[in-house]
Amino acid sequence: MNRNFQDEFSNSKITQMLAEKIRDTARKIKKNVALMEVCGTHTVAIFRSGIKSILPENVRLISGPGCPVCVTPNNYLDRAIALSRSEDIIVCTFGDMMKVPGSSSSLEKEKTAGEDIRIVYSTLDALKIAQQNPDKKIVFLGVGFETTAPTVAFALKEARKEKIRNFYVLSAHKLVPPALKFLAESKDLKVDGFICPGHVSTIIGTKPYEFLVREFEFPCVISGFEPLDLFQSLYILLSQIQKKKPEISNQYLRAVKANGNLKALGLMDEVFEKEDSLWRGIGTIPLSGLKIGDDYKEFDALTQINVQVEKSREPKGCLCGLVIQGKKTPLDCPFFARKCNPRNPIGPCMVSSEGSCQAYYKYGQVKDSRRSYGSVYRTLACVILAP
């Protein structure tokens, strides 16, 4: 972590100004408020920005379900692992999935044991691998939200165009708005406003969030990822609460348009079909997932490739499910930073670099909101230097 930055950051006039405004508005609200950042990238950005240290006592930020890795259930992983054990299959995946523990193994362990599992940066890399290995079946693990799904849809279209017949996708794609609806409807959720994901919104736009205001009167802001974005978003959200005027504010204006990316949405529509989908730790949420649609079913690894999958079980005692619903924090988990750490993760929230548990582990947690920036970094140093 860079000292200069720290100085620059705390010297930043705009930041200070915004911090002052945030405190001011919070004071006027006069009650405790909890704001949920839905997106895992925001969770990490929030820790890095040091914003938690300027938060007034009555404002709390809690993490939501915003990491596709964390919400992918074990039976998906177990199937991916089973596929990787087939002689004629090469599994391609984004790197984040490698360490996630399945019921009895992980992709990383299988790779070490000699299975052909390849980390790719893009779906197009997986397509290339398919072309280079015509005698193998290539299974791409389609995990991700609306941000990622169009890139998978494109790869399938391309596979059809190029007549690549050994390319398959095992889809676990999930949709953010149905999950938000689920959270909004849940009785014991104590959230006063949402920081909505930035990159998901570049694709879906601002409209799919409107029900949050219309039906539930939740203040919402779509935010960018820079520290200043976050400060500004927080200010916007608190102002909505103070004025009791909930709306969907778009702070990430430079990248998020009201209608989103129509071309990408069209591609998703063409290739995928909505289905009820199981979120790890949360349960099944209606129409919250994407499966490969009928028109593309010859590419669907789920229906086209038969494998024996072990009986799945979720890690015992892990609280990930409650953590991603904002009902518990990682600190409530007895395993946190003891038996469970990034080197030996028990649950997915500790594996994903955007999982709440890993973010808490890496960046420490500031309980006393009045602490200075310095102490955030001291906490951090402690975490890093701790044996």
């Binding site: 972590m1 860079n2 200069n4 930055f5 620059e8 950051f9 895992g40 990238t41 890095r48 990491c67 596709p68 890795v69 984004f94 984040d96 940066y121 893009s122 779906t123 197009l124 890399d125 995990v143 991700g144 939200f145 941000t147 990622t148 169009p150 890139t151 494109f154 930035g198 990159h199 998901v200 570049t202 694709i203 960018g224 990822f225 820079e226 520290p227 200043l228 204006l253 430079r254 990248a255 998020v256 348009k257 990316n261 071309k263 990408a264 591609l267 994903s352 670099s353 955007e354």
Partner: protein, 74 residues
């Protein structure tokens, strides 16, 4: 997992572009967008440009990125 990075398109060949981010050049697929032009700023995610950025605001972000560098954006 779906980090997005603002990059500048410095070259276009068909539906592929070359994007530049802090001096590093990278091939990037442009099929998810319409009418991308050389000089445009886009958000790069998993090898694809997923959205255009308004130039004025993109520049500001890039400047911020530069200022904040070392603070780390993966």
């Amino acid at each position: 997992m779906c980090l997005g990075v603002p990059v500048k398109i410095v070259q276009i060949k068909g539906n592929e572009g070359i994007a530049e981010f802090k001096g590093v050049k990278k091939k990037i697929n442009l099929e998810l967008l319409e009418n991308v032009k050389k000089g445009d700023y886009v958000i790069l995610h998993a090898g694809f440009a997923i959205q255009k950025m308004e130039p004025k605001e993109a520049l500001e972000t890039l400047k911020l990125f530069e200022e904040l560098s070392g603070f780390g954006n993966e």
